[in-house]
């Protein structure tokens, strides 16, 4: 297939992906926001809009800011098709993004290329389906499984799933990039040591760390490209 045919095929695929993605995400949003009202009809008690508004002012604004930042930061990593899926299937930081990035490494594709778009979408769709299947199987077996999964002996393992993930990813991303990785790592470690209560706002600390690492990457890029 010639390069122009390939580009034409991808353009058609991409345009259709946006149409399908918009329709599917809109329906999903309607279903998710509508579900509490349907459940309200079943239970005979509708949600209290005033209580929901009060709680939204307490925590919702934080999640709104976080959601907007996440969209702009993660969409370039996920691609168009991947982002339509990832934002409706959730678990971005702990699952979808590492999964998409690992798949990109395995396939050896570059950000912004049609191949990367395909790989990212396949990776996130597969990950989402496996998550749905594992949880559905777990829910079906919940009663017999509950004693095993919630046994005290296994709890330390499941409590440490995120540190295990970031430790493994640290090796992959710090290797060969130590001059970019060390400054944000040292700085943020000091910040957490001086203000330990910030650990509950780790997701917000990603922003300055990422900005610093991107700044250092830019300086390195300029030095090597000159």
């Amino acid at each position: 297939m010639s390069e122009s045919d390939k580009n034409k095929l991808f353009e058609e695929y991409s345009a259709r992906t946006h149409v399908i993605g918009r329709i599917c995400d809109s329906i999903t949003l309607l279903l998710l926001v509508g579900a509490p009202f349907v459940i309200g009809i079943y239970l005979g008690a509708m949600p209290s809009l005033s209580s929901a508004a009060r709680a939204f002012l307490a925590v919702g604004l934080v999640w709104m800011a976080s959601g907007i930042v996440e969209y702009f930061v993660y969409t370039p990593m996920l691609g168009a098709g991947g982002s339509y899926l990832a934002f409706i299937t959730g678990n971005l930081i702990n699952l979808k993004i590492p999964c998409a990035v690992t798949s990109r490494d395995i396939a050896g594709t570059k950000i912004g290329t049609p191949e990367n778009e395909i790989i990212s979408t396949i990776s996130i769709a597969t990950s989402s389906l496996v998550t749905i299947l594992v949880i559905a199987a777990g829910v079906a077996l919940l009663i017999p499984l509950q004693p095993v999964l919630s046994s005290p002996a296994l709890q330390p393992a499941f409590e440490q799933v995120v540190p295990a993930l970031f430790g493994a990813m640290a090796y992959k991303y710090f290797r060969g990039n130590l001059n970019i990785a060390l400054p944000p790592l040292i700085l943020i470690s000091l910040v957490f040591c001086i203000v330990p209560t910030l650990s509950s706002a780790t997701s917000f600390m990603i922003i300055p760390c990422g900005a610093l690492a991107i700044g250092l990457s830019w300086m390195k890029y300029r030095r090597t490209s000159n």
Binding site: R22, W63, N91, I122, V134, P184
Partner: protein, 252 residues
């Protein structure tokens, strides 16, 4: 007790299961379209299959951890609602935090089945749904324009032989990992009194074990040229580090 029976009733399973089934169908549509287009574009079928196997194997462990989140929330919210939230849009740390805030706004002292009423349950469900709509909403509103803009940036980089987009994403990911590793350092050093070094060392140790195992697996892949090991490297590193946590937890 009567409310909990209703929260675990077949009707609740039907409502939540239908939404999960719809989203699963969306995933299948995206997967099939991307796979077929990849093949039509001349991409290597074996490579695409490797990505599927790698993504599936990588997902199993975190999915089991997410299942534990369903169990954790099922005591106060029943099984079907946490099943829906954690199967699709949500994440355990988000769901727990938002549900607790909604419970407080409803006048409950904590998120517990004992204080739950039908009205407070539906209010909690609504808040959990609304607080996390921003990602999908922005996708609907902006994704086409934003993706085209990113594409044109990438095209310009390729023309100039650049590729800063890739480096920027790697930089962002380094920032993300640094924030979490830094948090584990902070928890150890100041988690139990500033600079007392009496905090919880387990997350940092587990992260170090995972990094060491990953280093070992990458060494085997590079030196022995065992390419398939990369597909299981992340999953394997996590599994071994999590197993280490079981052994080390009683010692620290």
């Amino acid at each position: 007790m009567e409310l909990m029976n209703k929260l675990n009733s077949p009707t609740m399973y039907l409502i939540c299961g239908s939404i999960i089934a719809f989203i699963a169908a969306v995933c299948v549509v995206f997967l099939v379209r991307a796979y077929r287009t990849g093949i039509s574009m001349g991409m290597d079928k074996a490579k695409l299959n490797r990505v599927i196997v790698s993504s599936a194997s990588f997902t199993v462990l975190p999915a089991v951890a997410i299942l534990l989140g369903v169990i954790a929330l099922s005591g106060s919210l029943g099984i079907p609602w946490p099943w829906l939230r954690l199967s699709v849009i949500g994440a355990l740390h988000y769901e727990t935090q938002v549900a607790s805030a909604a419970a407080e706004a409803e006048g409950m002292s904590s998120l517990s089945a004992a204080e739950m009423t039908a009205g407070s349950f539906t209010t909690i469900c609504l808040l959990m749904s609304i607080c996390i709509i921003w990602g999908p909403l922005l996708c609907v509103l902006l994704n086409k324009r934003y993706s085209n803009r990113l594409k044109s940036t990438g095209a310009n980089e390729n023309k100039t032989g650049g590729g800063f987009g890739d480096r920027a994403v790697t930089g962002m990911f380094i920032g993300l990992v640094s924030a979490y590793i830094g948090r584990y350092v902070g928890e150890l050093v100041s988690g139990n009194g500033k600079f007392s070094f009496r905090g919880d060392p387990l997350p940092l140790i587990v992260a170090a074990v995972a990094a060491l195992v990953m280093a070992g697996l990458m060494w085997i892949k590079d030196k022995k040229e065992v390419e398939w090991i990369e597909s299981f490297s992340l999953c394997g590193s996590m599994l071994i580090a999590m197993a280490a946590a079981i052994i080390l937890a009683p010692l620290v």
